[in-house]
């Protein structure tokens, strides 16, 4: 069951230090892992994204190709690319942890600078996760 996305589903920042293709890849990975993008969902074409965001189409094309290699996207001759089947809900635990690894590194760095203990930090995180449960 295919559905087409609103065009503006990504947030691309050309002036970020992170290359645009990598921003796109990271966002698609996260949205697939969280279930926000379901199998069969059609993605906008390279040209549509490039035009909508006013960015070079080569970078979008590169992102889509790499996501296809990862198995997250599927090319369909003559039709839009879709989220590949078999990617329902969350990835494996190590995969999901890897996706937030850079944020955790930043958090650990900040915590160390504030001389916080690992137990205090973990308790604080547990409290937050309890509070933000749907």
């Amino acid at each position: 069951m295919a559905n087409t996305l609103a065009l503006r589903i990504f947030t691309l920042q050309p002036s970020s230090g992170v290359p645009i293709y990598l921003q796109l890849i990271q966002q698609v990975r996260r949205m697939v892992a969280s279930g926000q993008l379901t199998p069969g969902t059609e993605l906008p074409s390279v040209r549509e994204v490039a035009t909508e965001y006013t960015v070079n189409p080569t970078t979008i094309s590169k992102a889509y190709s790499l996501l296809e290699n990862e198995g997250l996207l599927q090319r369909n001759r003559g039709k839009p690319m879709t989220i590949a089947a078999g990617r329902h809900g969350a990835g494996s635990l190590p995969q999901r942890l890897k996706q937030i690894e850079s944020q955790v590194d930043a958090l650990v760095l900040a915590a160390r600078q504030l001389e916080l203990k690992s137990t205090d930090l973990c308790q604080f995180i547990a409290k937050k996760m309890e509070k933000n449960r749907d």
């Binding site: 050309p14 230090g17 992170v18 290359p19 040209r47 070079n56 930043a106």
Partner: protein
Amino acid sequence: MTESVVTTRGLGKTIGKKTILRNISVDVDAGSVVGIIGKNGAGKTTLLEILLGFSPASNGSAQLFGHDSFTLPAATKGRIGFVPQQDELVSLLTCRQQLALIAALHRHWNHALIERLLAAWEVPMDSLIQTLSGGERQKLSTLLALGHEPELLVLDEPVASLDPISRRQFLSEVIEISADHVRTVLFSSHIISDLERVADQIWIVRNGELAWAGPLDALKEAVVRLNISARRLLPSSLPLGNAISQQISGQRASAVVSHWNEEQLADLRRALDAEIEVEPLSLEDIFLEFHA
């Protein structure tokens, strides 16, 4: 195999005793959008002038579409469009008349395209050129280079006088032009955020040489800032092979490195016994670091 649109080998330019360009060797494939950045006086305009054949090289070679730049055949010249930094508009003509003049010089002219852009860019078609604002002049000057749909479009600071809306319209057009990977764009600009949108290759011209000539993505991945927080006092100089700059204070340090890759991180963490945050840099920050 893609045809190389621009090829230079050991290109140099000297005027009198002054060396303006030194040892420039690049290849540009069809379909690329090359963003060219550099301080004023670094040699950007001279490089473009030599590539286009307005000025001969002092040493080395420059070729466009396989032909020596300085002796381009007329047919090859027709494949090129150029927007110079100083426009060459004729004051006493109207915009329409100026466009008609240029259109007559080309065998192919896309009238529909020009009409669409004249309207979208709000160029006052029947006004005399001498009454145009700086921005309107720049827009007209750009249109003159787009009408014949050249395979190679060379732009020397084409948007310096344009407001953000006009600039964005212009960038959309550049993206449209490059979308089929057939037409090539060389785009020199100080507005680095524009280049981060449309360019896939970057040339950094510094003191007449190319400090970088390669993909924008690779540049952003290679040049990063390392924010270091160590568990013991750091040495007075960090064990980094490619540090562009470093600031060390006790157990904290910050260093900008080039040629970075993730594999270096683990070794560095161990060597310094430190937490290291890898901070990616915008193109503007990278440019500033290259000139620190």
